[in-house]
């Protein structure tokens, strides 16, 4: 956990990146392999985010190092390796904590917007 500890501390202060949040969300539903995660993140972001391979594995490395995700199983599909990842209990709790934090932020912003008439 040489790197994980540092990253966890940073994330607890600043909140997690959108990519990390969406990868965690994708894995919360079911164990997925790399390509399936890329597609799930694309869908979850409404087509806005295209996760590149370097970014995807950077995120997965950190999640595994932090104990938020772990390897599930391996399959060979059309001659190629597919390694599945699943969320751990800690990962699920981290996702829930981030969602709670984001909801509080959205509530605060909505209150201000309503007050100035910017939100119906």
């Amino acid at each position: 956990m040489y790197r994980g500890a540092i990253y966890t501390r940073v994330m607890s202060v600043r909140g997690m990146s959108e990519q990390t949040l969406l990868v965690l969300t994708a894995l919360a539903e079911q164990p997925l392999h790399g390509y399936a995660i890329v597609k799930a993140v694309h869908e979850l972001s409404g087509g806005r985010l295209e996760l590149r391979v370097g970014t995807l594995y950077g995120v997965l490395d950190r999640l595994v190092a932090d104990g938020w995700a772990e390897r599930d199983r391996e399959e060979v599909h059309q001659g190629r390796l597919r390694r599945y990842y699943r969320l751990t209990g800690d990962g699920l709790r981290a996702l829930a904590a981030e969602v709670t934090r984001l909801e509080a932020t959205v509530r605060a912003a909505s209150t201000v917007l309503r007050a100035v008439g910017g939100l119906a």
């Binding site: 040489y2 540092i6 790399g34 390509y35 590149r52 391979v53 370097g54 190629r80 390694r83």
Partner: protein, 303 residues
């Protein structure tokens, strides 16, 4: 049969460390090639720029953090950047004080020297207080005087003077990637204040001497201070085995050496310092590399 496109991806993957490639190469290829099934694409297609950039970013992060050997290398790169910024703080402050105390007002020179000092102080303070991007931007702002100086005087001495600042900026950008650990606030903020105070005091005291280009002047010239300070740190590190610090001080000494050598061509009085710096840089470099090789090159889980 392996397609040409797959081979091109495999070449790109060579940017990653060997241990990482052994672990991930197959699944990464599977993601890349999942949607690229067209025969023409498999024959003539290339990895896109966005994919290439993203993979090079991952390669940089895995080579400068992660297993103990990569982490130590990353620490060394970051330390070279911090040492370079401290030197810039001292020199920038000293130059600015020199201009303020000078009877002839040179506003442009004052602005440029202040840019070097303020940019470097800002970069160090930002990094030490958790503002990574701001630190990188200010670190690059501090490079502007060097760029302008080099553009107006593209001479050997100007290149030798600019070298440490360029290397500092490069190490800053490479070392302080998104996941890099940031420096501790208290020691680095203290060091920044000290470097600034020493720079001001040094030049304040020197302004009492006539600047006549004499051998005496060269002995107490500003470039002397960081060289001796690093040599002192180097002597301590010869008996204290800290791989990252050894490598960083060795690299910093080597970066300051060309300026001393250019000066040596005119003033032999610089010789003892130049020799000390060169010898210490070599000794620390060899010891640091030996230390580095002893550290595990793969993460504990894969070893």
């Amino acid at each position: 049969m392996t397609s040409r496109l797959e081979n091109r991806y495999r070449v790109l993957l060579r940017a990653l460390p060997e241990w990482y490639r052994a672990e991930r190469e197959q699944e990464m290829l599977a993601v890349w090639l999942a949607e690229r099934t067209d025969e023409l694409d498999l024959e003539y297609g290339w990895p896109g720029w966005a994919e290439t950039r993203s993979l090079l970013g991952l390669a940089l992060r895995t080579r400068l953090s992660g297993p103990p050997r990569s982490a130590a290398l990353g620490d060394a790169v970051r330390l070279v950047a911090l040492i370079g910024l401290l030197v810039q703080v001292g020199l920038g402050t000293a130059y600015a004080v020199n201009i303020v105390l000078s009877p002839v007002a040179d506003l442009l020179a004052l602005v440029l020297d202040l840019l070097l000092a303020v940019g470097s102080v800002g970069a160090l303070a930002s990094l030490a207080t958790g503002r990574r991007v701001q630190g990188l931007v200010l670190g690059l702002v501090a490079l502007v005087p060097s760029l302008l100086g080099l553009a107006s005087h593209p001479a050997l001495w100007a290149i030798a003077n600019a070298l440490p600042e360029w290397a500092t900026a490069l190490c800053l950008v490479l070392g302080y990637h998104r996941e890099a650990p940031l420096p501790k606030a208290r020691p680095w903020l203290t060091a920044t204040a000290l470097a600034s105070g020493l720079g001001a005091a040094w030049w304040g005291a020197l302004s009492l001497l006539p600047r006549d280009g004499s051998a005496l002047w060269v002995q107490v010239d500003l470039g002397v201070a960081p060289g001796w300070a690093l040599s002192l740190a180097g002597l301590v590190l010869l008996v204290r085995p800290r791989p990252a610090a050894r490598l960083a001080v060795a690299a910093s000494l080597l970066l300051l050496l060309p300026e001393r050598l250019v000066l040596l061509s005119q003033f032999s009085v610089v010789l003892p310092q130049a020799v000390t710096m060169a010898v210490l840089a070599m000794a620390l470099g060899v010891a640091g590399l030996r230390d580095l090789r002893r550290l595990p090159g793969t993460p504990p889980a894969l070893a």
